[in-house]
Symmetry: C2
């Protein structure tokens, strides 16, 4: 009967979709974060209507929601486009992720009970499970790894006791993930990333929040630098491919 307070904290795909709009939000969000919809691409509701098989309203409603989350920009009465990626924002997101997620982890370690530990352990185990997948470049596999990865992090932060903090982390993680998936070509997961996860969980379960937060900080900045390296490489070097963000997004006028 009593409502949860604080902003709704919901990650990625929820099991039950009561509403067509909800389903569309998740699907669209997934397509943007994963990079299937490219940075800066125009989003034509007409196209999505066909693609997702829903009417105008759910798509439009989803678009407005994602605009508030920073994944999409509403452009006057000129429709919507996928938010542009840029290096400054990556830096900013990485920095705030490190700060806020660090705080969330610290508080969770202080507040967390055995159940919290169990959830985190379970989440890391599930993450290990998809780790072994050979081919993470395939959409399906990458989606799955990222989902488990998010779940692990949020299992860690779950007991921070602050819905707003969780919401902020969620927004940052979501937007940050776009950079990894847009630029980092990971065939298989870097071993050091995996080790960091283990180390964070270990310190967390031992209630050593100083150590845990310190590793998490390194983990996040590490990921940020990796993405940044690729991003620079993509933007700077060969002016030939300068027009990355290839037009191939909108399928309107080929040629």
């Amino acid at each position: 009967m009593t409502f949860d307070w604080g902003p709704p904290v919901r990650i990625g795909s929820n099991r039950e979709h009561k509403t067509l709009t909800d389903a569309t939000v998740d699907r669209l969000r997934g397509d943007i974060i994963s990079g299937r919809l490219k940075s800066g691409a125009k989003v034509k509701s007409e196209d999505l209507k066909g693609l997702y098989g829903v009417g105008t309203s759910p798509i439009r409603e989803a678009l407005f929601q994602l605009a508030s989350e920073g994944l999409v920009r509403a452009d006057g009465q000129r429709g919507f486009r996928v938010a542009e990626l840029n290096e400054n924002e990556l830096l900013e997101i990485t920095d705030w992720r490190a700060r806020l997620e660090g705080e969330a982890l610290r508080r969770s370690i202080i507040n967390g009970d055995v159940n919290w530990e169990a959830n985190a352990i379970a989440a890391l185990h599930r993450l290990r499970g998809v780790q072994t997948s050979r081919d993470l470049t395939r959409d399906k596999a990458a989606d799955l790894w990222e989902e488990r990865h998010r779940e692990f992090h949020f299992a860690l932060y779950g007991k921070c006791g602050s819905p707003w903090l969780l919401r902020f982390c969620e927004l940052l993680i979501q937007n940050g993930e776009r950079y990894r998936r847009a630029f980092v070509e990971y065939k298989s997961i870097d071993q050091s990333i995996t080790q960091e996860h283990e180390a964070i969980l270990d310190a967390a379960v031992k209630r050593d929040h100083v150590k845990a937060v310190s590793i998490l900080d390194k983990h996040i900045r590490h990921a940020g630098e990796l993405a940044q390296k690729f991003l620079e490489k993509s933007l700077a070097p060969k002016a030939s491919s300068a027009k990355l963000k290839p037009r191939r997004a909108g399928r309107g006028r080929t040629h």
Copy 2:
């Protein structure tokens, strides 16, 4: 020609409304923050359609946007309601406001140029201008004071250099303002509040960020405690008025 990066940072009422939906968002947000739509109240699109004189779509799109901002909750297929206020959230918002706005102010003082100073001074001057209004309980006057107040704070934070930080501050301020306006019965502005504004601006212009941030911190926690005091008084004491959230909200059916 080039897009601003980072999430869109827009406060309250924007000058130009290109789209009916945009106008509806601002209007609805105003009605929620000001308390004209009460905490927990059901939001019937049918009612708003009549009240605002627009069709289903703009209202629905606005509702989804506000849901992402935390002012409204979307409830399965059971429609929307104004987000509930509660004491825990007030505490949380106050704490995060102090932290994040403090950081925003610190960075702005470090980055800010003469123009930034000028804007802040001008904003405070405009705030002083409405300060003299006799009757701040009237919607119009309170709306104006709050708008100027927000503008002053944001003028201060404007040079923090971090769109995400600004966005977070914006969300917190918005949601925090609801508590003041729901519970604090301010006939005239407390003198100490006014003095704090002056002191913050003074320290900011003198580039003393330690002092400025310290006063800001006090300012925010001060406002939080004030709201909390009233909130407790409203919730706890007389079970008689247990059904606070008096009906007088919607001016639709004066029965």
